[in-house]
């Protein structure tokens, strides 16, 4: 399903991202529908002080996947997507708190450190399939619950925002 890793288009985009293209416009422009907007203390932006990502841009970041049980599904499922810290890294975000905002305006604060300390996934695939809004898509913050007992508490479950649409770096 994924495009070849070294397609010409991707290579060109990488080169473009790597080249110094001015301080405020270091991030490439999204070509498709914007699925994630990062606001606040963002170093690299692509539209008026915010960093906007379409699904393709997220897909270009290194992908990780793991299988874990969650409170929201009866069985364990496989989640795939970029690591939260890679997403934050891509837009040069730095701060102490992240506010995750969902499509239904649900919001939750998570410590900025969480992205460094845990392999927090910005899941875009559920069992290798894109998630529709009605399936809690398109983006779902997922902690590796199965690998660390400490994560299996209400605190982390509440931080796992689904139908994610924006991140506010504070």
């Amino acid at each position: 399903m994924n495009p070849p890793l070294f397609s010409r288009r991707r290579l060109l985009r990488w080169l473009a991202a790597a080249l110094p293209a001015g301080p405020a416009l270091a991030l490439q422009q999204p070509s498709g529908a914007v699925v994630l907007t990062v606001t606040g203390r963002v170093g690299q932006t692509n539209a008026g002080g915010v960093a906007r990502f379409d699904m393709a841009m997220l897909e270009q970041l290194p992908q990780r996947s793991f299988v874990t049980a969650t409170p929201w599904y009866a069985t364990a499922h496989k989640f795939t997507g970029p690591l939260l810290r890679d997403v934050l890294g891509a837009c040069g975000a730095s701060g102490s708190t992240l506010r995750a905002i969902a499509l239904n305006d649900y919001s939750v604060d998570l410590p900025f450190d969480d992205a460094q300390r845990h392999d927090v996934l910005l899941a875009r695939l559920l069992d290798d399939k894109p998630m529709a809004v009605r399936d809690r898509g398109p983006l779902f913050i997922i902690y590796p619950f199965d690998s660390d007992a400490q994560l299996r508490t209400t605190v982390y479950y509440s931080r796992s925002a689904w139908q994610l649409k924006a991140l506010e770096v504070r």
């Binding site: 409170p71 929201w72 009866a74 239904n104 529709a132 809004v133 009605r134 508490t153 139908q163």
Partner: protein
């Protein structure tokens, strides 16, 4: 009877009561332990349940379920708003936004299927009916707004579904309310459960605290009991120690009483004995002599018993001390033989006394006590044998540890003993058997005393026997050989014929007992001496001050001034002649300390009561020489007297130096003699004991080199006696030395060792 019954409650055997108490205590402990375990288990159970409840709530918060329902309603309301807006705006309708709202709501409805919510609303009609209603609506709406719906938006279909959408409002709302009520009810239930648990926990904690207190009280009680027990033990120990002290003191007092009593009995008894012996010489007819013999035998027997009792009490009170001195063993055996042979002969028994060649000439021992043991053993052997032979064998033995022993074996061919008798043999008051003791008499203390004495010496007395095969007793003492032993200076054996001392002597007898005074008077006058009397110490001192006496016989126990005090006073008199009068202690007191005290006070010798004519005679002879003998022949046992000239030594000396040189040396020695004697006399006069010793020692060394044995022995006696032998004795020894010097010279000249000095 009344006293009996009154006492009985106190006399209950304490053991069962204590046991019952102990059992009750153990049961109580078990009970307490069981309650404690139960309480701990209950606490664990409560905590486990609380933990389970917590876990349940952690699994998925019911609050979140309510939140989901609430959000589902909110999203429904927003969707309805968009839905209405879309129909109003028609061409400008934002399809994407409507679809997004629709999808979000659908996702919320999907969440309502979640098992947590299902569990929360389980079996509730207000839940399942709206859910089915919503699902039916979504199935129809998906055709318009779902992922596979046709574009552009079918506004007619949208309008058609409007009423259906509106109809969902009421059930969704009531569902939300019902859930929130349900949840609050559940929360209330859970809180109630927690409260209940807390109450239980509180009760349990109370229980635990009580138990802890109970255990504490128990421990405290136990500690107090332990303390009490220890105090009781300490008290008991003190009590026992006190009791032991008292018992020991009582035993000691009894021993002392016994010693004193036997001593007290002996004093008048001596008078009796003395009188009996005097009666013998008063020309009795045969019948009277027979009576007298029987009386004397009885008295002797009684004296033996008294002596045994005294010895026993001394041994028991630990006041018997040994007087160690150099003892000539062969002399000792001769004395035993002299005493025992008449008895053996009277029973037609042969008596063999023999010493192995390996036995040393002299050993360090308590002469009197060794003799006492031997007398006892031999006496027993003679007593219990009716035929055959009694053998006394002296030998040297080496034990496994390399120590040397002296063994006196007394063997007889008598009736022997069986094992039972042997076992009782050394026990107090036990005799071979009753019939035998009647036949042979005795106190039954003899063997016990013998063994105690032997053990005091570091040895033992053992016995071997079989019935009909005779017995063998062995006295074993540690061998302490000494280089030389003085001849038995106490001289005459009891029973030996006693030639009278040089008579007449003026004798002062200080004695408070009239019977004893009479006895002593008869005794001394019988020997041809002049007896004077003093009834106490003061009179004695007065008498010595007023007239000259050759000797004073001093009783120790006298009123006003005792013997020791009187001696001290006499020795302190200004007149030299009076102050140096020989004083002989008279006492029945057998304590070694008494003897020591006498000598320390300045007495010259010691005469044990009863005073027999033989012993008195021997003592006087020792002090003043025999009636017919002069100072040149002082030795009481001429057979054993050392030779004037030992040829073997002289020959050896001659081999070392030339005959001429030896002659010269001998002449020098004899020429030097008068100066030597003079030096000894000066030392004696000036009271220079050390000078006396040094000179005597030098003389002895020289005399020994030349083989002048008699001379050497006298010099040695001077050397040994210099510090403690009384002056008149020393003077006598010096005189003897002078005579021997002359005799030895004559002997040497006679042997042709050197030419007599002419002119």
């Amino acid at each position: 009877m009344a006293a009996q019954s009154a006492r009985s409650p106190l006399d209950i055997d304490p053991v069962p009561a204590a046991k019952a108490r102990e059992r009750r205590r153990i049961t109580l402990l078990w009970l307490l332990g069981a309650v404690l375990v139960l309480a701990l288990a209950a606490v664990a159970l409560v905590q486990a349940r609380q933990f389970a409840m917590l876990k349940q709530s952690v699994a998925y918060q019911d609050d979140y379920a309510v939140l989901s329902l609430y959000q589902a309603e909110a999203e429904y309301l927003r969707l309805r708003e968009y839905w209405v807006l879309a129909q109003h705006e028609r061409e400008r309708v934002d399809t994407v936004a409507l679809q997004l709202r629709y999808d979000i709501w659908v996702s919320r409805v999907g969440l309502l299927h979640h098992q947590a919510i299902a569990r929360l609303m389980d079996g509730n009609d207000e839940y399942t009916a709206p859910l089915r209603q919503m699902e039916a609506f979504i199935a129809r709406a998906d055709k318009v707004l779902g992922p596979n719906s046709a574009r552009p938006l079918d506004l007619a279909a949208l309008a058609a579904l409007q009423s259906e959408l509106d109809a969902l409002g009421a059930p969704i709302h009531s569902m939300m309310l019902s859930a929130s009520h349900h949840v609050s009810a559940q929360i209330e239930a859970r809180n109630a459960a927690v409260r209940r648990h807390n109450q239980v926990a509180l009760v349990l904690t109370l229980c635990l605290s009580l138990l802890l207190l109970a255990f504490g009280a128990l421990a405290l009680r136990q500690m107090r009991l332990l303390g009490e027990r220890q105090r009781t033990l300490v008290d008991l120990t003190a009590h026992l120690r006190e009791a032991q002290h008292q018992a020991e003191a009582a035993s000691e007092a009894k021993s002392v009483f016994l010693a004193n009593m036997s001593h007290e009995i002996r004093t008048p008894f001596h008078g009796l004995l003395g009188m009996l012996s005097l009666l013998r010489d008063t020309g009795l007819n045969t019948r009277q002599a027979q009576y007298l013999r029987t009386a004397t035998e009885s008295a002797d027997h009684l004296l033996t018993i008294l002596n045994d009792v005294l010895d026993m009490s001394l041994l028991e009170s630990g006041r018997l001390t040994l007087t160690l001195e150099a003892v000539n063993l062969r002399d000792l055996l001769r004395e035993v033989e002299a005493l025992m042979r008449p008895q053996a002969q009277a029973k037609s028994l042969a008596l063999h006394i023999d010493a192995d060649p390996g036995v040393p000439e002299a050993v360090r021992a308590d002469r009197t006590r060794v003799k006492q043991i031997l007398f006892n053993l031999v006496n027993n052997a003679v007593k219990f044998s009716d035929r055959g032979v009694v053998v006394v064998d002296l030998r040297r033995a080496l034990d496994g540890e390399g120590r040397e022993w002296l063994e006196f074996l007394v063997t007889d061919t008598g009736i022997g003993m069986d094992q039972v008798t042997m076992e009782r043999l050394f026990k107090r008051f036990s005799q071979g058997d009753e019939s035998r003791s009647r036949r042979h008499g005795g106190t039954g203390l003899g063997l016990e005393i013998s063994r105690s004495l032997a053990r005091l010496m570091g040895g033992d007395v053992t016995a071997q026997s079989a019935p009909g095969e005779g017995s063998s007793f062995c006295l074993r003492v540690p061998l302490q050989a000494v280089a030389a032993a003085p001849r038995n200076v106490s001289g005459a054996l009891p029973g030996e014929a006693a030639p009278a001392a040089a008579a007449p002597l003026r004798v002062l007898v200080a004695e408070d007992h009239p019977v004893n005074r009479q006895y002593m008077a008869a005794l001394l006058e019988g020997m041809g001496h002049h007896a004077h009397f003093a009834a106490n110490g003061l009179e004695a001192v007065q008498a010595v001050r007023e007239q000259r006496f050759d000797v004073v016989l001093m009783d120790l126990h006298m009123p006003l001034l005792d013997g020791v005090g009187a001696t001290l006073s006499i020795r302190a008199l200004p007149d030299g002649a009076s102050a140096t009068v020989p004083i002989i202690a008279l006492t029945a007191d057998a304590f070694a300390q008494t003897r020591e005290r006498c000598l320390m006070a300045g007495m010259n010798d010691f005469l044990a009561k009863p005073v027999s004519p033989e012993r008195l005679s021997a003592m006087l002879r020792r002090l003043f020489g025999g009636a017919s003998a002069d100072a040149a022949a002082p030795a009481p046992a001429p057979a054993a007297a050392p030779v004037l000239l030992d040829r073997a030594t002289l020959d050896a000396a001659m081999r070392a130096v030339s005959r001429e040189r030896l002659a010269q040396l001998l002449r020098d020695f004899f020429d030097e003699g008068p100066q030597m004697v003079e030096r000894l006399r000066v030392a004696l006069r000036d009271g220079q004991a050390l000078d006396l010793r040094v000179n005597a020692h030098a003389a002895r060394g020289a005399a020994l080199n030349f083989g002048l044995n008699a001379l050497a022995q006298t010099a040695q006696a001077l050397h040994e006696g210099a510090t403690h032998v009384p002056a008149h004795e020393i003077a006598r020894l010096i005189q003897r030395f002078e005579h021997l010097l002359r005799d030895s010279r004559v002997a040497c000249e006679a042997a042709g060792l050197f030419e007599p000095v002419t002119g």
